[in-house]
Amino acid sequence: MSGLLETPTRPVPPSERHAQGAPRHRLVASPAAWLVWGAVVFFFVNLAGIVGSVLVSSFGTRWFGTWLPEGFTTDWYGSAWEDFNLLQVVLVTLQVSLLVVLLSVLIGAPAAYVLARRAFPGKRLLMLLFLLPVLMPPITYGIPLATVLYKYGLAGSVSGVVIANLVPSVPFVILTMTPFIEQINPTIESAARMCGASTRALFSRILAPLLVPGILAAAIIVLVRTVGMFELTFLTAGPTSQTLVVKLFTAMSAAGIRAQQGVDAMAVIYTTTMLVLLVVALRYVNPTQLVARVREAPED
């Protein structure tokens, strides 16, 4: 598809031509290009089918063995909202994710600063330690963690869910913010020190303003991850502390009791929320930058 767009029939703007160095001129896309774009199109067609079928079903009345439902209605959204007590679920989801974001930034940012700026004995080991919770499947530490939380009576409440979700979030903030802090010129800090700034003033007046983009990036990724995090919330949540994903899963695995379309409607609500979050995230976060951290992250 877009491989064709590389043809020179469209005049290349001077700025673009300059940035690319030498513009590529190709009259016909190669067979390999056709194959790749064909695969992409096939992927999207099926993806559209998957998303579309849920969307159509959530607006449909009765749908059995036909191409389209018999009629269309928006009733499922209203009844899903009522049946699943979604207002409370959405409030809990908001509460949990905002608390997780706030706490993980507060705990993670100072550590990220030290890891970005300083060299000290045992730094490698510490990096590995911070990497482990991201590398391990949530179930492996989630089950022991839930057991411990139950032992101390914390599981089943919103605070238990927040604590469990912090475990992968804090390392994530550290891993995301370290490259951001490395980009800030250390001479700025030295200059502030020379002018007599204390450590606290240094953080609040010099570093914090410079770090706002990094904090925002980390916060948004943690937010998206927490809203989407299933396993840890599922293992630690009680009936009143379920987030949207967990509610969705329990509603769907108990299918048959309620109409399928109600679950479809709830899934659409969930995906719309996530889509808004992702679009906001992509405005602030450059995915390429995000990934740069992973390069040095694991191993030796």
Partner: protein
């Protein structure tokens, strides 16, 4: 006098520590360190200890119970059978697409966003969509039936394939983003130099791009493998959780929350961690034999 001596002594110690990079600024690490210690290491070690304290039998009884029951041991194979192909497909599909996306063309941003959108679907909508779309009366089978390609509906849900599709859909965006980043970190002039020397695109890819990309491929494989290995909701929703897609996390979950045998559950969790870290260690070992120098690019 003595107090002055102590003070200078303390100062000297502090000075010597500072020379080795240890000073008061390291206190900033404390919250994160304490957090990881209390909420990750302690529960993990607690679980490890719990796995050696079964309700009855010797200290290895939980592991014995897991490894002697073919229904339980089979879950390791079930998980690997899903996670390895899913991670491989994601990485191998992402390479050519990301390779095509390197240049500048109109609509690149839109296309990138579209490729990343499946992240937002979440496991449940993906599962629901797969059941609706690929099910016996879904659009996919209707198209196949009406074009006469098949006589009976193809069975793609509630079995191995449904879970594999779900893992590919949710894992691909991550693999794609990572590989796009690695590829754009490779200096394009290297390839142009090779082209000047008469290398065709196949040679350029094999001799220039691939060696520089390989470490990135290994890392991407590890990360998508981690995602796929912890498959849990989709194995229940679109798979056959009692049979061929009874993955290891289901076994751990059932042991903990259906049989309330926390020792067995912890033992399964430990086996799960060991298998996963084993695969990652193998990949990283292979990665350490690769060229890891500068890619000459901006990255």
């Amino acid at each position: 006098m003595t107090s002055g001596g102590v003070a200078t002594g303390r100062l000297a110690v502090r000075h010597r520590l500072a020379e080795r990079g240890i000073d008061r600024q390291l206190w900033l690490l404390l919250p994160a360190l304490a957090f990881i210690g209390v909420l990750f290491l302690y529960p993990f070690l607690y679980g490890l200890g719990l796995s050696f304290q079964p309700a009855e039998g010797g200290f290895l009884a939980s592991y014995q119970a897991f490894f002697t029951d073919p229904y339980q041991v089979g879950t390791v194979w079930n998980t690997l059978r899903l996670a390895l192909p899913a991670a491989l497909i994601n990485v191998l599909a992402a390479v050519p697409i990301a390779h095509r996306m390197r240049g500048r063309f109109r609509g690149k941003r839109v296309l990138t966003t579209l490729l990343v959108v499946p992240i937002t679907l979440g496991t449940v909508l993906t599962a629901q969509g797969l059941l609706n779309y690929l099910g016996p009366t879904g659009w996919f089978n209707r198209i196949l039936l009406s074009t006469g390609l098949v006589d009976d509906p193809v069975r793609l849900t509630n079995n191995y394939w449904g879970v594999l599709f779900s893992l590919v859909i949710t894992g691909f965006p991550f693999a794609f983003l990572l590989i796009l980043a690695y590829l754009s970190g490779i200096d394009p002039t290297l390839e142009r130099a090779a082209a000047t020397l008469g290398a065709d695109w196949r040679q350029r890819f094999r001799r220039i791009t691939l060696p520089l990309l390989a470490p990135g491929l290994a890392t991407t494989f590890c990360l998508t493998f981690v995602l796929a290995f912890s498959v849990f909701p989709s194995a229940i929703l679109v798979g056959n959780p009692a049979g061929e897609t009874r993955v290891i996390s289901i076994a751990a979950y059932q042991a903990a929350y259906e049989r309330f045998d926390f020792s067995l559950a912890s033992a399964i969790a430990m086996v799960m961690a060991a298998v996963e870290l084993g695969v990652i260690a193998l990949v990283l070992l292979w990665r350490s034999t690769l060229y890891k120098g500068s890619t000459g690019g901006k990255g």
